[in-house]
């Protein structure tokens, strides 16, 4: 699990003012690396089209988070990340939005549309007639070749407008949500900034970077931004009072799509010791195995675990990250423990999530039972735990634990965790997993 966390954990790039590192004091030795002339050209052209997007605390009139954005139309429409404007979207009475152009001009921003699932937002400036970016049609059609030089722009760490040269590396392989893998350094504050090819056309939007790797960045494909701009033009503008409902609606829609995709990708059985369980065949489930075989002092129960995670994560607010599905199977076999000691050891390992006091979710409710899914299947000791999102009706975090009860010194524990899921989807998937547990030998 640890390796997985390291390799896939991403950092959302909105800079928080309080967390701003000071610019390095010793700048004379840190000379800027030589840039290609293409970068100079791109930056020169892009400069009047990029923006810094600030969320200000109304009471203090000072920024609480910063991000970047870019103009996409002559009438003042601009794109940024949803997570750059999320504070304002969820609480427009406490916060306000402002842009700062490279020429020093600043003004108010209107929030027109959000796309929580793809982490995008469309805002409108209080002025028009500015130059703007075009989207790269090859990128929108998904025909950009791997290895192409692309340039990420934005205002990292509030240091000033910056351009970063990097490489387009196609879409991330194991990802449910489409994300472009950008090999280049993007940093907090660049969120929502454009990434353009050498012709200055936008191929993606800065959104996150890997915490584990070096210069591994992620971009939202331009296609979604272009679609959201269309939606903002055609559809009714976002009503700020109803923004929270809209976020809830989009989360609901996202999970419906995700669980539908999970179903259509199908399931396969997985073997763990003498037991069988169910596994998703979806290519975006990332699975890892672990064992305690090399534990010191020598373990008295052998534990072999496989864990799979959708590695999806939807940023709702700086407190709510949702949309993940994890499941794991652990096979326990007593080496020299009796059945009482074995049961004790398994109890201490059969622990799922939900143990925090986050008030955005209700307290956890659990239900226990001994379940027999079908004759011939091992009886199960099962627990269903759930918490509801207070702000988003019909969405829950659910944990299902099931332990086989057919042997007293060996057992398989199945664990399924679903974040931001509807009750119906949770029950459907939970039931599938529960009913698939069987003794294979």
């Amino acid at each position: 699990m640890h390796r997985l966390t390291l390799s896939l954990a991403t950092l959302i790039l909105a800079g928080v003012a309080a967390a701003q590192p000071q610019p390095p004091a010793n700048t004379e030795s840190a000379q800027a690396p030589p840039m290609s002339s293409a970068a100079e050209r791109v930056y020169e052209a892009a400069r009047p089209r990029i923006l810094q997007i600030r969320t200000l605390l109304q009471a203090a009139g000072r920024q609480s988070t910063i991000g970047s954005g870019f103009l996409v139309a002559a009438d003042g429409l601009a794109i940024t990340n949803y997570h750059v404007v999320s504070q304002f979207a969820l609480d427009s009475r406490t916060y306000k939005l402002e842009y700062l152009a490279p020429d020093g001009a600043r003004g108010a921003l209107q929030l027109l549309a959000i796309d929580v699932a793809h982490d995008l937002a469309v805002v409108k400036l209080d002025r028009a007639g500015l130059p703007y970016f075009e989207f790269d049609s090859r990128a929108i059609a998904g025909r950009l070749p791997k290895g192409e030089r692309i340039y990420a722009m934005g205002n990292p760490l509030d240091l000033g407008f910056t351009i970063v040269e990097g490489t387009y590396n196609g879409l991330v392989d194991k990802s449910y949500d489409e994300r472009i893998h950008f090999s280049g350094a993007i940093n907090p504050g660049m969120s929502g900034g454009p990434v353009a090819g050498s012709d200055g056309r936008v191929v993606g939007i800065n959104v996150a970077k890997s915490l584990g790797g070096e210069s591994v960045g992620f971009l939202v494909p331009a296609r979604f931004a272009s679609e959201l701009v269309e939606r903002a033009r055609k559809g009714p503008a976002l009503t700020l009072d109803k923004a929270r409902d809209e976020v809830g609606r989009q989360l609901g829609e996202w999970q419906a799509g995700f669980y539908e995709a999970l179903r259509s990708q199908g399931f396969k059985t997985t073997l763990l010791g003498p037991y069988r369980g169910l596994e998703s065949s979806a290519p975006w489930m990332s699975c890892w195995a672990s064992t305690n075989a090399d534990a010191l002092p020598k373990a008295r129960v052998s534990v072999n675990t496989t864990r799979c995670s959708s590695a999806t994560g939807i940023f709702v607010s700086d407190r709510i990250l949702t949309g993940r599905l994890d499941f794991s199977y652990s096979y326990f076999k007593a080496l020299d423990l009796n059945s009482f000691q074995f049961a004790k050891e398994v109890s201490s390992r059969a622990r799922g999530g939900g143990g925090d006091s986050d008030k955005r979710l209700t307290e956890q409710e659990c239900r226990d039972d001994f379940v027999s899914t079908a004759p011939g299947r091992p009886p199960l000791r099962a627990t269903w735990c759930m918490r509801a999102y207070r702000e988003f009706e019909g969405l829950y975090n659910v944990t299902l634990l099931a332990l086989t009860q057919d042997r007293d010194r060996e057992a398989m524990l199945a664990q399924l965790t679903m974040q931001g899921v509807s009750h119906a989807n949770a029950v459907t998937v939970g039931r599938k997993f529960l009913e698939a547990i069987e003794w294979a030998r």
Binding site: V346, G354, D368, V371, P379, R381, L401, H423, E435
Partner: protein, 327 residues
């Protein structure tokens, strides 16, 4: 003519200070020296009480006309006359008296606990307790066996038990004049055995019936057992004031149980509750019949109904703030 009644003057601690035989069917009590019973209490009249036999032959106390009057021993109501057949106790001024009818039978002889019996029992029960604790430790030992891991908790337990017993012995020495260490140890060890068994019963019930609350709230029963132990200790010190002792014990148990209950919900609120299967036991201990998947998911629906209801309520913050997973 022999003695027909005894008048007992009680000390402020409630034991008999003097006992005066009366050889007639009538007695006079007061501060003046011409009384049959003289009591030195400035709140008593020179001639305060007359004790006589009523028409039914039972003793009656009568206030002969005083400032401070006559009360039953535990009564708050001033009375003119007080029949003494049922309760021989009465209060005049600041003094408690008991008037005993010599014709009334007394309680039969109590069997004396043979010397060293308590010590023998305490030793035997102590050995049983240690054995139970060792077996439980062994059943819960999931790491590589290690003498420290077994002996340290046992040693700690024995120390606490010894201190507890010693504290009660000191109290007994103060109030009764005898330490009764063996008896106190016997009571404490018995209570410990009951506590350990109760705890195990709760754990096994919780698993066997898939009834998590049995384990979560077993602490309430433990407090009741602790209360019973305190009652036992108090009873050993002296059977007097048992009503007050009982009240004290009940108050202690209620306070403890309430602390346990609210502490639990506070913990849930502040730290949250992780999903878990609870304390598992070998599968043979299952009693609850197997449910179908349908039944299980009906329970899931019930959980949903609960969180849906909780969602509309404003969340309360923890007593000492919250430990947030994000901070």
């Amino acid at each position: 003519m022999g003695t027909l009644m005894w008048v007992e003057v009680l000390s402020h601690h409630g034991d008999v200070a003097t006992r005066i035989p009366i050889a007639s069917d009538e007695a006079r009590i007061g501060r003046a020296f011409d009384n049959d019973v003289v009591v030195d209490d400035p709140h008593i009249a020179p001639h305060h009480l007359r004790i006589y036999r009523g028409d039914d032959g039972e003793l009656v106390a009568e206030d002969v006309g005083t400032l401070n009057g006559l009360y039953a021993e535990h009564g708050g109501q001033r009375v003119k006359t007080l029949p003494l057949a049922k309760d021989p106790g009465l209060r005049i001024g600041r003094t408690t008296l008991r008037v005993r009818d010599a014709r009334r039978p007394v309680a039969p002889e109590k069997l004396l606990t043979p010397p060293r019996a308590h010590a023998r029992w305490a030793g035997l029960l102590g050995a049983v307790l240690m054995l139970i604790l060792l077996v439980l430790q062994w059943l819960n030992l999931t790491t590589q066996p290690n003498a420290n891991a077994v002996l340290l908790p046992l040693l700690g337990f024995v120390t606490v038990l010894a201190l507890w017993t010693a504290a009660w012995s000191v109290l007994s020495r103060i109030f009764l004049g005898q330490a009764q260490f063996a008896l106190m140890l016997r009571i404490a060890v018995t209570a410990c055995i009951a506590l350990v068994i109760w705890d195990q019963v709760a754990e096994y019930t919780s698993f066997s019936l898939a009834w998590r609350d049995a384990a979560e709230y077993s602490g309430l029963g433990a407090w009741a057992l602790l209360g019973a132990a305190c009652y036992g200790h108090l009873h050993a010190i002296g059977p007097r004031h048992m009503r007050a002792a009982m009240g004290l014990v009940i108050a202690l148990v209620v306070a403890g149980a309430a602390m346990q209950y609210f502490g639990r919900s506070e913990t849930r609120r502040v730290i949250g509750q992780r999903a878990s299967l609870g304390d598992l036991k070998p599968p043979e201990f299952r009693i609850l019949p197997l449910a179908s998947a349908d039944d299980f998911f009906l329970k899931a629906d019930a959980a949903k109904a609960r969180v849906d209801k909780a969602r509309t309520k404003e969340p309360a913050s923890g007593l000492f703030g919250d430990f947030d997973s994000f901070d």
